[in-house]
Structures are given as structure tokens and as C-alpha cells.
């Protein structure tokens, strides 16, 4: 996409975005709530029209030929919209029909999709009887009925427990190994760090940084982090400012970033509680998008 813009009621949600995703890549679009991620995704699919800019999806110009482009795309939305009137297997059958897939072909394909989703034993279950993780996996299977080249995922593991989340991640990695292109939006940094080959960080409708997770960390942030809180942290913070290149405070916690934080650790009094860890993508994200709450 090039120079993409979109406003709603005078407020610009997407303000000139350039992005491209290579075939076979797992690409992550990160950003706080309201950054414009979901709008960008909807623009890609041709569900809404851009005010300016160009979009190409699988070689088709969007929105003009969005219908043709969508034939080769799968979508996992942020909120499950499985069809509650149907069973697990019927959801896949009915969804296949929307793609015009011949009945014979979908019949053959559905067992493999159920297997992929780990729902073989639940094929005749009602949607209301499924757990959150199962619903998510079924939504992922549904996005694959047309054997898409490209799968869009809006917050694929939001609201799942760790077991369910790890299973989803394992499945997504399997899709990448099969050569599918994945585009996911998330504000869950661990997810992005584990899955994505390449990332773009979006805020207030713009792309503010991009690259591989490691490159982003190396480029934007010091490698070591010390988090400190407890009685007397304010006085300590004044001293810390002389010992670390970057010291920030959020609420009652002090964050110190540096190449080597051992002098800082030695300077701590016994009243202070600390956590020493390597810098993560989340630190990059917070540095670039700020610590203010987004609602």
C-alpha cells in the first residue's frame, strides 16, 4: 500500500501509510488502541474505501477488485463472529459456500481443517459449547477454507489463556512453514516477538518504526533494563540518573536502561525491590508510543 489515508468524520485515522509484505513472510502491525491498525486491515480487504493512496492485495487493485483479491485471502477477526446457528462442521461448510467452493471439495477439506484446529471430536458441537480457545481455532480454520495465500489476523490471541495461546502460536508457525503469508495486528509484544519476521509499529495513524524484532530492539533501545520500586525510590532515582543513560518513571516504578546496569544494582538500598532483565520489544514500543494510557 502507498500513501494510504482514511478519515472518519474529519478525524484522520490513517495518515499516509506505506507498507509492503513479501510472500511467505509473517508480518506484524503493532500499535496501541486506536492507532489505526484495524482500519488499515479493513482498507487492505477493500471493506472500506481509502480517501487517498493505493492498495494492492495479491496483485489486485483494491478496492476496485477487492472481491477477486479476497478469494485468495483468509481473515481472523478480532472478535469471533462464528455462526451460532450452526455446529462446528457446518460453520466450515457454510463458509466454504461463500467462496463458491464446490460441495465435494469442501467435504474433503473439512476433516483436515478440523484436525488442524484440534476440533475433530467436536465437529457436531454447538458454537456456544466451545471454549474461547476452541472458538479462536475454529475461526482460524474457517479462514483457511479457501486455502488462502495470505491470512490476516486481528489480535489472534487476545483473551486466551497461556495454553490456548501457545497452541494458536504453534498453528500460526505451521502456516508460515507451509509458505502462507501472515499479517497480524497485535499489541501483545511477546506474540509479535515470537512469530513475526518483520514488524511495523503504528501510532496515531502513522508508521513510526519498522524492521525485524531484534533489529528494532538493537536500534531503539539499550540492551539492559532495571525496574525498581519501593520506599525511597524517588531519592534513588536522582542518583540513578547519573549512572544510567536513560531513566524513566511510570507511577511508582523507575525504569533504567543501559549497556551495563550492575553499578545501579550495587547502588540500591535494601528497601528497594528490583527486576533486572534484557530489553524487550515492549520497551521499544513504550519508548516510541509513550507510556500514556490509550482509551
Amino acid at each position: 500500500m502507498r500513501a494510504l489515508r482514511k478519515s472518519y468524520d474529519g478525524a484522520e485515522v490513517v495518515s499516509g501509510i506505506d507498507l509492503s509484505v513479501a510472500p511467505g513472510e509473517c508480518f506484524g502491525l503493532l500499535g496501541p488502541n486506536g492507532a489505526g491498525k484495524t482500519t488499515t486491515l479493513k482498507l487492505c480487504l477493500g471493506l472500506i474505501e481509502p480517501d487517498a493512496g493505493e492498495i494492492q492485495l495479491l496483485g489486485e487493485p483494491v478496492p476496485r477488485r477487492a472481491r477477486e483479491a479476497r478469494a485468495g485471502v483468509g481473515v481472523v477477526p478480532q472478535f469471533d463472529n462464528l455462526d451460532p446457528d450452526f455446529t462446528v462442521a457446518e460453520n466450515l461448510t457454510v463458509y466454504s459456500r461463500y467462496f463458491g467452493i464446490p460441495e465435494e471439495q469442501s467435504k474433503q477439506r473439512i476433516p483436515a481443517l478440523l484436525e488442524f484446529a484440534g476440533l475433530t471430536g467436536r465437529r457436531d458441537a454447538k458454537i456456544s459449547a466451545l471454549s474461547g480457545g476452541m472458538k479462536r481455532r475454529l475461526t482460524l480454520a474457517r479462514a483457511l477454507v479457501n486455502n488462502p495465500q495470505l491470512v490476516f489476523m486481528d489480535e489472534p490471541s487476545t483473551g486466551l489463556d497461556p495454553q490456548a495461546r501457545h497452541l494458536i502460536w504453534e498453528r500460526l508457525r505451521r502456516l508460515t512453514q507451509e509458505g502462507k503469508t501472515l499479517v497480524l495486528t497485535t499489541h501483545f509484544m511477546e506474540e509479535a516477538e515470537r512469530l513475526c519476521h518483520r514488524l511495523a509499529i503504528m501510532d496515531k495513524g502513522r508508521i513510526i518504526a519498522g524492521g525485524s524484532p531484534r533489529a528494532l530492539i538493537a536500534e531503539h533501545i539499550e540492551p539492559q533494563v532495571l525496574e525498581v520500586h519501593g520506599t525511597g525510590y524517588e531519592q534513588w532515582m536522582e542518583r540513578a540518573k547519573g549512572l544510567a543513560p536513560r531513566v524513566e518513571r511510570a507511577g511508582d516504578t523507575v525504569f533504567c536502561y543501559g549497556e551495563d546496569v550492575s553499578p545501579l544494582i550495587q547502588s540500591l538500598s535494601s528497601d528497594l525491590v528490583y527486576l533486572h532483565r534484557p530489553a524487550s520489544l515492549e520497551d521499544v514500543f513504550l519508548k516510541l508510543t509513550g507510556r500514556d494510557l490509550r482509551d
Binding site: L45, N81, L82, R97, A143
Partner: protein, 249 residues
């Protein structure tokens, strides 16, 4: 023809509940038909040259078709669009909002047609019709269904909440039922009201079905059909316009 997938989705849901659907299609109109038909029929042995029961049955066929079409396109349509987000899921596939609108309208008309057909079955079983002409009420019921489904879907895509539909029902459907010649010949209405009735689709549905029940070809058939199709076409165009608007934001 991609809208057929939308139609088939709704059909598959309905098929599972077929017996219940036929029963609920029948219960309400039959209570009206026999309650009013026998009661008033005893007082009015003949209206417009037919038994009151047969007269009212023709009107009731159209009214029940109107109600099924309107309820399906408004309430069930809104549940699919807003509550279940079924439309959103369909839009990720190579279908557009126009396909969904078309599928929903034809579906609601089909369901309404089933209601009309079951009432026609009652008309036949109770010997209220006198000739095979009455079978043409089958296609007629579909056109009545199409007109009201299209109008109902306009309400559906305009609605912000469930309450919205009660305005349409109280302010449009109920008065329409009273003045469209369902219970008594519309010609008995004061002249200005008759003009209003003639501008509404239910009146024209009744004008087609009643002569068929009486056993002959309906006068001015093309005019009546044109009005029904006009409402269907205008409703379809308006529903597409408002649905596109709703889904673009």
C-alpha cells in the same frame, strides 16, 4: 449469483426447525381466520359475492405473508447483522454488501411465501376456493413477500436498536392492514383513505389474491403486480444504499 450462498445459509438454519416454522406460520393466522371468520361470518353471510370466510381468508393470506416477510427481514435480519455479526463474517469472503442484501431479501420473501402457501393449504382443505385459479396465489404470495422483505430490510439497515422496528410496525404495518381491504372491502373507506390504501402494497396483494380465491382472473393484474414489484425494487435499492453507508463506517 453469489447471493444464493446467503440464501442457503438462512435456509439451512430454517430447515432444522422446519416443523416448528410451519406450525408458527400457521398458528397466528389460523386463530385470526377462524376467530374472526366464524364470528363475523355468522353475521355477514356474504361479502362481495363470496362467503365472509373466503373473503377474509384471501386478505389473511396476504397479511400473514406481509408479517412473515417483515419480521424475518427486520428482526432476524438485524440479529444476523448486529447481534451475531454474521454479515461481517460474510464480507471477508468474496461477497459484497449488495450480495448480502439481495440474499436476505429473497430469503425473507421465500419464508413469507411458505407462510402464504400454508394458508393457501388451509383455504383448499376447508373448501374456501372454487377453482384452480386459486393456485396462482402461490406466485402472488411470493411477490407480496418480496415487496415487504425489501421494505423490512431497509428498516433493518437503518435501525440503531430493536425499538426502531416498533415504529414501523405501529405506524406503517398495522394501519396498512386496517385499510387494505383485509377485513372489509377497501371501497367502504372514506375516499381519501382509499387513495392512501391504493398507494400501499398490501392493498394490491389483496386485489390479486381475492379474485383468485373467488375463482377468476384478477382485474388489473399487471397494475397490481407493478406496484408490488415497484416496492420491491425501490426497497432493494434503498436497502443497498443504506447498507453500504452503514458498513462504510
Amino acid at each position: 449469483m453469489r447471493w444464493i450462498a446467503v440464501w442457503r445459509r438462512n435456509f439451512l438454519v430454517r430447515r432444522k426447525l422446519f416443523a416448528a416454522a410451519v406450525l408458527s406460520n400457521l398458528a397466528d393466522p389460523l386463530i385470526m381466520l377462524f376467530g374472526l371468520g366464524y364470528g363475523l361470518g355468522a353475521l355477514l353471510p356474504s361479502v362481495a359475492g363470496m362467503s365472509y370466510m373466503a373473503f377474509f381468508a384471501a386478505g389473511q393470506l396476504c397479511t400473514a405473508t406481509m408479517f412473515t416477510a417483515s419480521f424475518e427481514s427486520m428482526f432476524s435480519g438485524f440479529a444476523r447483522m448486529q447481534g451475531q455479526k454474521t454479515w461481517d463474517a460474510i464480507l471477508y469472503a468474496p461477497l459484497t454488501i449488495d450480495d448480502i442484501v439481495a440474499g436476505e431479501i429473497v430469503w425473507a420473501a421465500s419464508k413469507a411465501w411458505l407462510t402464504g402457501s400454508t394458508i393457501l393449504g388451509v383455504v383448499l382443505v376447508f373448501g374456501l376456493a372454487s377453482s384452480p385459479w386459486v393456485l396462482l396465489a402461490l406466485p402472488a404470495a411470493f411477490f407480496v413477500g418480496l415487496a415487504f422483505s425489501a421494505m423490512g430490510l431497509v428498516m433493518c439497515v437503518l435501525a440503531r436498536g430493536w425499538d426502531f422496528f416498533s415504529y414501523y410496525m405501529t405506524l406503517v404495518m398495522t394501519p396498512m392492514m386496517m385499510i387494505s381491504g383485509v377485513f372489509f372491502p377497501a371501497e367502504q373507506l372514506p375516499a381519501p383513505l382509499l387513495v392512501v390504501a391504493k398507494a400501499l402494497p398490501l392493498y394490491h396483494g389483496v386485489q390479486i389474491v381475492r379474485p383468485l380465491v373467488a375463482g377468476g382472473p384478477p382485474p388489473d393484474l399487471l397494475l397490481h403486480l407493478a406496484v408490488l414489484l415497484g416496492y420491491a425494487a425501490a426497497g432493494y435499492a434503498a436497502a443497498i444504499y443504506f447498507a453500504r453507508k452503514r458498513f462504510a463506517s
